[in-house]
């Protein structure tokens, strides 16, 4: 008897889940995902019991609590590398709230595996990046670990309710981390970030409930719940009843979801929280914010918007691409005008996330793969950038781009790595950034109506090159600004955080198929759902 049968009595549902998503994989066999999600949480609890003065023990626990998920992530990577990313793996399904048919349903496929690996990696690195936090060490690391739990959960959850819970769990520690350990205007930034994202998640909640109440999974048995939160089942279009059959309502739901995720991505009109949040957040937090939190928006669109409302995905694909283009050009232009280095990198993140949107907007295999790869690459590259900005901030205590000058002579190694990061960011071939950008553009171009939009977006690479090199010149080249005579070179710890990321960027630059094959599997299943769900190519 199939393990699923003690959750669903309707054989059709089991068949649908098995064929499209789970394949023959055993369920509840390996609890690697739960471990990865809740070990940090456990760490947080342990930290709370450690006496306040013992800072090093707190840090040690934090390292272990993020180290274990990293090891597990390595195993996840190996499994996906050998078996490809088409089917859901490491699936766990337990009843959570039986009456409402809510399950603790966790699983990852080609789409979410890279994100899980990225979260584990950045989480581990950021612990070392926040080594010299002195104020409230216990609280900081406890909140950080809870944040990691939230993030990991979001990427593993396959139940809409569970997804939403993790989404909120991730939100709260972030608010405190920015609000307490931030820069001068930290309260304003923290509040703005929190309320903005919360407003988004309210919309998501509405859509979730609408989805819940308008699906009928035709379960047998007297008290069998008819509705479900199971994301995989919700993709089954002929289970949609009630308002989900009416075109305008589906469009409304799609737009609601889009706004919720657009705030997180961030997309053009909803992006103003990002520069403030980044400028005020401490180094490690802005690495996590840029490295992982921005991906939640795009991941949400991949996991929820596209498969659940595929016809809407196609109907509004041009819009998404246009938003992508605006993000690219507008983000790049704003970045050029910034004088605070962190704000500049924040706007560059907006521009880079624009590539993801363009790739996704195209709804072609190449574009989607490019978008997913760009999400991963942006995580590593911008992670490096923020770490580097943190390094200079700790020494010079200001981030004003014009305030430096000619540092390359004083700190050549630091200048070298910063140069490497800048070139990776502007998409120099030989580094991973270029591959994802190229794929997004190729994908974008394949769409019959996106030629002009993609052409204009390619202009983005010129603007990006301009502002990044201009900034590099202002900081590192030119005559040495002797105000920084006593500037020390980058130290071992900081190097330890940067080198692994650099290696990943180069390896993926030369051999992208390592991760692209993983993503390819997941994207194929997604594309089948979209084309099947949408019935016909609506454009």
């Amino acid at each position: 008897m199939d393990y699923l049968s003690n959750f669903y009595s309707n054989p059709e549902i089991i068949k649908y889940l098995r064929d499209v998503f789970l394949g023959a994989g055993a369920i509840n066999q390996s609890h690697i995902l739960s471990l990865m999600t809740f070990v940090p949480f456990l760490g947080a609890i342990i930290i709370l019991f450690i006496p306040r003065q013992n800072k090093d023990l707190v840090r040690a626990v934090a390292v272990v609590a993020t180290g274990i998920p990293l090891l597990l992530a390595a195993q996840v990577f190996w499994v996906f590398y050998t078996q490809g990313g088409a089917q859901m793996k490491f699936v766990e399904m337990y009843d959570w709230i039986k009456p409402f048919n809510i399950q603790y349903f966790m699983g990852i496929d080609g789409v979410s595996a890279p994100m899980v690996i990225l979260t584990a990696l950045l989480g581990f690195i950021c612990i070392f990046a926040s080594w010299n936090i002195e104020k409230g060490v216990k609280a900081y690391f406890a909140l950080f670990l809870i944040l990691e739990t939230g993030m990991m959960g979001v990427f593993c959850a396959l139940d809409f309710f569970l997804f939403y819970v993790y989404w909120e769990v991730m939100l709260l520690p972030m608010y405190f981390l920015i609000g307490i350990w931030g820069g001068p205007r930290k309260e304003y930034a923290a509040i703005k970030f929190f309320v903005y994202t919360l407003a988004g998640s309210v919309l998501m909640l509405l859509v979730m409930l609408a989805m819940y109440f308008n699906t009928n999974i035709a379960e047998a048995g007297p008290n069998a719940a008819q509705h479900t939160f199971n994301l995989l089942l919700l993709t089954n279009q002929n289970m949609h009843i009630g308002i989900l059959q009416n075109f305008d309502m589906r469009l409304l739901l799609y737009i609601g979801l889009f706004i919720a995720f657009a705030i997180k991505v961030p997309v053009f009109p909803f992006h103003t929280w990002l520069p403030d949040a980044h400028v005020e957040a401490p180094t490690a937090i802005s690495v996590i914010l840029a490295g992982v939190l921005l991906k939640m928006g795009t991941y949400g669109i991949f996991r929820i918007s596209f498969p659940l409302l595929p016809d809407m995905a196609q109907y509004t694909s041009i819009g998404l691409a246009v938003f992508g283009m605006i993000n690219i050009i507008y983000g790049a232009l704003c970045a050029m005008a910034q004088d605070d280095l962190k704000k500049l990198v924040a706007y560059s993140s907006i521009s880079h996330m624009g590539y993801c949107l363009l790739g996704m907007g195209a709804l072609t295999a190449a574009g989607m793969n490019g978008a997913l790869l760009q999400m991963f690459n942006h995580g590593t590259i911008t992670g490096m950038l923020f770490l580097l900005v943190g390094v200079i901030y700790e020494r010079a205590h200001h981030r004003n781009v014009d305030g430096f000058g000619g540092l390359a002579t004083k700190v050549p190694v630091y200048a070298g790595i910063m140069g490497f990061a800048f070139f990776a960011s502007l998409g120099l071939p030989g580094m991973s950034g270029f591959i994802s950008e190229a794929l997004c553009f190729i994908g974008g171009f394949e769409h019959d109506y996106l030629h002009v939009i993609t052409a204009v977006s390619t202009l983005g690479i010129v603007i990006t090159a301009a502002y990044l090199l201009w900034t590099f010149q202002k900081i590192f080249l030119g005559p040495f600004n002797n105000k920084y005579d006593n500037l020390q070179e980058i130290n071992g710890r900081e190097l330890f955080t940067l080198v692994p990321l650099g290696i990943i960027v180069v390896i993926l630059g030369f051999f992208p198929s390592i991760i692209l094959n993983i993503m390819g599997g997941g994207i194929n299943t997604l594309m089948n759902i979209i084309s099947k769900g949408a019935g016909h190519w609506s454009w």
Binding site: K192, V195, Y196, P269, H271, T272, W273, Y330, L333, C334, M336, A337, A365, A366, M368, N369, G370, G406, A408, T409, F423, L428, P429, G430, F434, I435, A438, L439, F441, I442, G443, F445, E446, H451, T454, A455, T458, L459, I461, V462, A465, A466, Y467, L469, W470, F472, Q473, F476, L477, G478, P479, F480, P512, S513, L516, N517, G520, I523, N524, M527
Partner: protein, 693 residues
């Protein structure tokens, strides 16, 4: 050596490619700690590559088969959905030739920089960058598909950025390297757009597949117009990289880099990448695209030549001469002289590298780049003088057979003339060609006279001028010999034709408007049957060019050679003041770009940023304030209305209470009366509810 079949397996070309990369990696990390700061590492690496390239070139020479391509398999690099990209190596005659050019010049420059860069604080890093550049250039030449060409294209761009900005303490160097990279990036934008178009329409990226797809199965919506547009986009990449007219501004500024860099990158190899790309993708270009290429090339030639006439900085003169010569090559290709254009690239690489290295040794000796400080150096630096003169003769196309420049330039002029004779409406190209040749001869001889002949203008510098060490003069001598014999050991340019033949265009003329058809037929006809017009064109070209060269040389000697000084340059400059200023300030192109492109963009970004923080943030903060006000309003409302209601109720209750209080008058009778009233009510109720049947 010949025993090993270098073209049998992929191993050897890969070795050529990976040696410089290995050197780069070694140098960048542990270069500083190696003996002699690791310059020998890079030298050895490029040496090995040179040897293998020469070996391969030799084997290609023996084969004497113009259509030889080594069939190496390409391995699957990347799959995204149905779209896969395969990478591999393409080795045919053109690659062999380019490889020799690149590795040879690179090797000589490596050797030369050992002397030139001696004592520089970042000595080892310089060689790391040189190795990186060699790796990317070799990669560019070896790649077999558009995307890998683009990848190495950008890598070459970044290595030129690093090398130009080597002495980044100088503000001008910092600006120059940024300018170079961004301008290249603008070109790359067009190039990438071209690639996207081809990938979209044909779905292929490998050269062979693209050409076959174009020839055989061209999708119907990939019309003429789109193909021309794609061709022009691709050519835009070449414009950026080879500093053609609109995007040439970065090359003169790139002279900020050390001279060996200029010699290697901005004379021989990198700038030639654009020309190489056009030769490699030649079948893709439609006749209209070729015309565009020809015009851009021609205009650049004449444009740069005029500026070079009046420059006083030795490296600037050579820089503009490079731009002009590149214009020639591009024009050559544009007009259909495929072999001539590519041949000019071959010869130009050597004599331009020679000229740059000579100027390098002069600068090294005098520590100044300004022509006005030089003069009469031929006594002090005989070897440099001899090498420089040979280079000048080569570049100006001096007629005696033993000088290479003459043949290649003559080939281009012949091809241009042939086209013009075919279609006279393009006569402008011929004027560009010949006038350019004249100016080239004039400014080169001007350069020679001002530096080496005549009496020294600056005694102090003249005193301690000295000949450069052997590491610098040996490369000069080698290059000098090559400038001469690269014309094929006195056999003219025929030998080159055996190896390089013009690929027939993959553009199938489905429905051809009269004009375009005839153009192609023209070049076809010229190629097969109508040998006579082409031959005739060559005859006229030879005569004309010799005539022009002699005239300009005599003019130059008359103005600059102290013995026969008749014309004084200063007087001419006075009389043609406006023209002189225009030329001296490089047609104010830089200023125009600054004013009309860079400044407005920066202003626009400021606007964007203010808009972003003002409007959108304003909107967000506005909503925040609105909600605060709404909260305040509800607070007030709550206070006034609802509280009021509650208080109202309280008042009524109190009033009722008072009213009720009146009952308590203290007089017994009132109590009794109320009691009786109560009794009456109760009895009434009993009656109503219970008893009424």
């Amino acid at each position: 050596m010949l025993g090993i079949d270098f073209l049998g397996s992929q191993f050897w070309p890969l070795l050529i490619l990976l040696c410089p990369l290995a050197a780069f990696v070694v140098q960048i990390f542990i270069g500083r700690f190696l003996p002699r700061k690791g310059d020998w590492v890079s030298l050895a690496a490029i040496g090995i590559s040179l040897l293998i390239s020469v070996a391969c070139f030799a084997q290609v020479l023996i084969k004497k088969d113009p259509h030889f391509t080594a069939g190496f398999p390409s391995y699957q690099w990347l799959t995204a959905g149905m779209f896969t990209i395969k990478m591999g190596i393409l080795f045919d005659n053109i690659t062999a030739i380019m490889l020799v050019v690149v590795t040879l010049v690179s090797f000589l420059v490596h050797l030369y920089s050992v002397g030139y860069m001696h004592g520089d604080i970042r000595y080892s890093r310089f060689f790391a960058y040189l190795s990186l550049f060699s790796f990317s250039m070799i990669g560019l030449v070896l790649s077999n598909n558009l995307l890998s060409l683009y990848i190495f294209w950008e890598l070459v761009g970044v290595s030129s950025y690093l090398l130009i900005g080597f002495w980044f303490e100088k503000v001008s160097a910092a600006n120059a390297c940024k300018k170079a990279f961004v301008t290249n990036r603008v070109g790359d934008f067009g190039f990438f757009l071209g690639i996207l178009l081809i990938i979209f329409f044909l779905g292929k990226t490998e050269y062979g597949e693209v050409f076959n797809a174009l020839k055989m199965s061209r999708p119907v919506d990939f019309t003429e117009g789109w193909l021309t547009f794609a061709g022009v986009c691709l050519f835009m990449g070449a414009v950026g990289k080879s500093a053609q007219f609109p995007l040439h501004v970065w090359l003169p500024d790139a002279m900020e880099g050390p001279t060996p860099v200029s010699a290697l990158i901005h004379a021989a190899t990198m700038v030639a990448a654009g020309v190489y790309m056009v030769t490699r993708l030649y079948p893709v270009f439609t006749p209209d695209a070729l015309l565009v290429i020809a015009y851009v090339g021609g205009f650049t030639a004449i444009f740069a030549a005029t500026i070079a006439l009046v420059q006083n900085d030795i490296k600037r003169v050579l820089a503009y001469s490079t731009v002009s010569q590149l214009g020639y090559m591009v024009m050559g290709l544009g007009v259909g002289g495929y072999v001539a254009g590519f041949y000019h690239l071959w010869t130009h690489a050597f004599f331009k590298a020679l000229l740059f290295l000579c100027s390098g040794s002069v600068i090294h000796a005098l520590h100044s780049q300004d022509l006005r400080d030089m003069g009469g150096l031929w006594k002090k630096m005989p070897i440099t003088f001899v090498a420089m003169t040979i280079g000048t003769l080569a570049i100006s196309g001096f007629p005696p057979y033993f000088v290479s420049g003459f043949y290649s330039k003559d080939g281009i002029l012949g091809a241009t003339l042939a086209l013009v004779m075919e279609r006279p409406q393009h006569f402008v190209l011929a004027i560009f060609g010949f006038l350019g040749a004249a100016f080239t001869a004039f400014y080169m001889f001007r350069l020679i006279y001002m530096t080496f002949t005549g009496h020294p203008r600056d005694e102090h510098k003249y005193e301690h001028a000295h000949e450069s060490p052997w590491t610098m003069t040996v490369p000069l001598m080698v290059l000098a010999v090559l400038s001469i014999c690269s014309a094929g050991f006195f056999s003219g340019s025929e030998w080159f034709g055996d190896y390089v033949q013009k690929p027939e265009s993959a553009v199938v003329m489905a429905h051809v408007p009269a004009g375009a058809h005839e153009a192609v037929a023209g070049s076809e006809a010229v190629h097969e049957g109508g040998h006579s017009t082409e031959h005739a064109a060559h005859q006229y070209a030879v005569i004309l060019s010799i005539l022009i060269v002699f005239i300009s040389i005599t003019l130059a000697t008359l103005t600059y050679y102290h013995k026969f000084k008749k014309i004084s340059a200063e007087k001419i400059a006075e009389r043609l003041k406006p023209v002189y200023n225009l030329l001296y300030n490089k047609y104010y192109i830089d200023e125009i770009y600054e004013k009309f492109i860079i400044r407005p963009v920066v202003r626009f970004t400021k606007l964007c940023s203010r808009f972003d923080s003002g409007v959108i943030d304003g909107a967000v903060n506005g909503t925040a304030k609105a909600t605060v006000f709404a909260a305040f309003a509800t607070g007030q409302h709550d206070l006034k209305v609802i509280d009021g209601a509650v208080n109202g109720v309280a008042q009524t209750v109190i009033a009722a209470g008072k009213g009720a209080g009146m009952m308590q008058t203290g007089r017994i009778k009132n109590y009794f009366a109320w009691a009786v009233g109560g009794m009456v009510c109760i009895l009434g109720l009993i009656y109503l509810l219970l008893l009424r049947r």
